[in-house]
Symmetry: C2
Subunit: 352 residues, 2 copies
């Protein structure tokens, strides 16, 4: 075991503050990574504040962070895929049972025995896992990704959650050249959705409640921007979309988007509104439309996504902050005051 | 033109009563059919009482009926697929534009220019189309089905709506041998769903609120019956279903069923609850589940379904009534007092 510097919350009401946590020494298939950047995901805030207590109660101290990019410092004796000095990344998962049908299908995110990167029982040290708001992490190589060298590392960090969360459903539902794709909600997830849909060759339409996001949406790759409050504008697109990615985490009128789908079109939720969304059955019946959800992606697909980003020169638009500003960043995230993701420069942790 | 005996409602508040309506003489591709049986569908009642006025206002007099089985009496000079004496059937559609992408895909039910069998603008005679509560109908041969000779005609009539409505989504979502399939709601639609899922080789589980339907569900082909109020019983099946057919037309807790789906499982609505159903996003996200709707089926698939019924000896369980009892049947249908579909013996119309 060794000590790793970290930022942790001591309780649901505490701000994040400097601390140290224990990490295991890398053995066997383990890879030790010096963390260079860690993105801030909305779920970090939910878990730090124990807002998902019914789903996954938070154990304190809680070190969040699952958008991790860094450099390999040591490897266990059985490691074959990484060597010290390699760029490496870790997302939301650090382990799974590797034997269940989900793991066999490369969908470790649905493994009933997965281990999340933070706030999840740690099979090695007891207690819970500690995430990426830290200077170091040790992860089995089977859950470590290779980071293509042409990617900006600060902007690459959010790919590990926001990136794969939006990439995976687009691949699953067949977003390709010639398809008409909508993205609802231009935030951390949505702005990645726009980039991916554009790079996949689709005609991309961004829906936003804020007319002032129009220029930015076009810059990110949108072909059209619709202000969703404009019912006439919405009506014009009725029955025309192959796929809509809905990245809104607040309650909203999902039926207005369902009716924009063409026959057999799909709307996938990647935000997670806490209140149930009323769904009108007729909207689904009349064109055999479907509504679904998607959750990050498997390990192989996450690597595929990173390689796709390399080929298409895609990273997240980030505001880089020192870790000392993480509490302020949480507050600003709640006000959607970030374009479009915070990425913590972990060099700032050295001074703690 | 000629006169056809029929039962029609004169207003939303009127009972159905004997009348005559005009039909066109069969010309070109037209097939004239002597109607022998017509099933009673819940949508007949909705439309007769103008309960779908926002969707499709009812024009009076209204002759409902779109589960039509009969015998060909005359054919137009261009008809190639039917001859007098042939058994024939007509479902919910009597025409479409035949050129749009939906028609090209064999999905005439989604054609933007379709013609429904009743209460829809009649391109030939003006006014609206008149349905199957009548002794005769004239329909373009491209919308007439062949009825396999081994099927009981009274029980075959409901196949044209209840049958195809449940068969089509099972085929679309890949119900086959080895799949675990749920059917929610054991009524006119649901009982057909059980028969089809069983014949397709699936392990069939019926969900019901009425323990007294258990024996009947098993007789129809269910392998298991779950009383849906029993939370413990429901929990045991969590994450295990490939497909669930939801044939409930009242509001109900759909999330309880969504959580029973395995990864990539689908729940298809074929009932049409009038109030929106609250859908919890987490249930969809956690296993990439989907919720969709389905609406009857195309003409080719309807013929495929009838041929499947012939091969597997499937018809609806019907209570045959004379047309004079149709108003009473409507009232009993509202109380779910029928096992499982009324089929009107149209010979009874001769005495009117």
């Amino acid at each position: 075991m060794y000590n790793s510097k970290a930022y942790a919350a001591a309780s649901a009401a505490s701000p994040l503050a400097s601390t140290t946590v224990s990490r295991r020494d890398p053995a066997g298939h383990d890879v030790q990574i010096e963390i260079l950047f860690c993105g801030i995901c909305h779920s970090d805030l939910h878990q730090v504040r124990n807002e998902w207590s019914s789903l996954i109660p938070t154990v304190y101290p809680c070190v969040p962070g699952h958008e991790i990019v860094g450099r390999v410092t040591r490897v266990g004796s059985s490691v074959t895929g990484f060597k010290p000095g390699d760029l490496a990344a870790v997302g939301c998962l650090v382990d799974s049972d590797r034997t269940c049908p989900e793991c066999q299908a490369g969908l470790e995110q649905f493994c009933p025995n997965l281990t999340l990167t933070y706030n999840f029982p740690d099979k090695h040290l007891g207690g819970v896992t500690y995430g990426g708001y830290s200077d170091s992490i040790v992860v089995d190589e089977r859950f470590v990704l290779h980071v293509p060298s042409n990617l900006d590392l600060a902007g690459a960090a959010p790919l590990l959650c926001a990136g794969i969360t939006t990439y995976s459903p687009m691949r699953h539902w067949g977003v390709t050249k010639g398809k008409k794709v909508g993205v609802v909600g231009l935030g951390g997830l949505g702005h990645m959705g726009v980039k991916f849909a554009h790079a996949l060759g689709a005609h991309v339409v961004v829906f936003t409640t804020s007319p002032n996001k129009m220029d930015d949406a076009l810059r990110l790759g949108a072909d059209e921007v619709i202000v969703s409050r404009n019912a006439g504008e919405m009506q014009k697109h009725s029955g025309s979309f192959d796929f809509i990615l809905d990245a809104v985490s607040a309650g909203h009128d999902i039926n207005a988007y369902i009716q924009l789908l063409r026959r057999d079109g799909n709307l996938t939720l990647v935000g997670a509104p806490e209140i149930p969304l009323p769904v009108a059955s007729f909207g689904l019946l009349f064109a055999r439309r479907s509504l679904s959800g998607s959750l990050i992606g498997g390990i192989a697909e996450t690597q595929e996504m990173l390689d796709f980003c390399s080929a298409h020169d895609i990273t997240a638009d980030v505001e880089v902050i020192p870790i000392q500003k993480v509490n302020e960043a949480f507050d600003r995230m709640l006000k959607a005051d970030v374009k479009y993701r915070f990425s913590i420069d972990m060099a700032s942790l050295k001074s703690e």
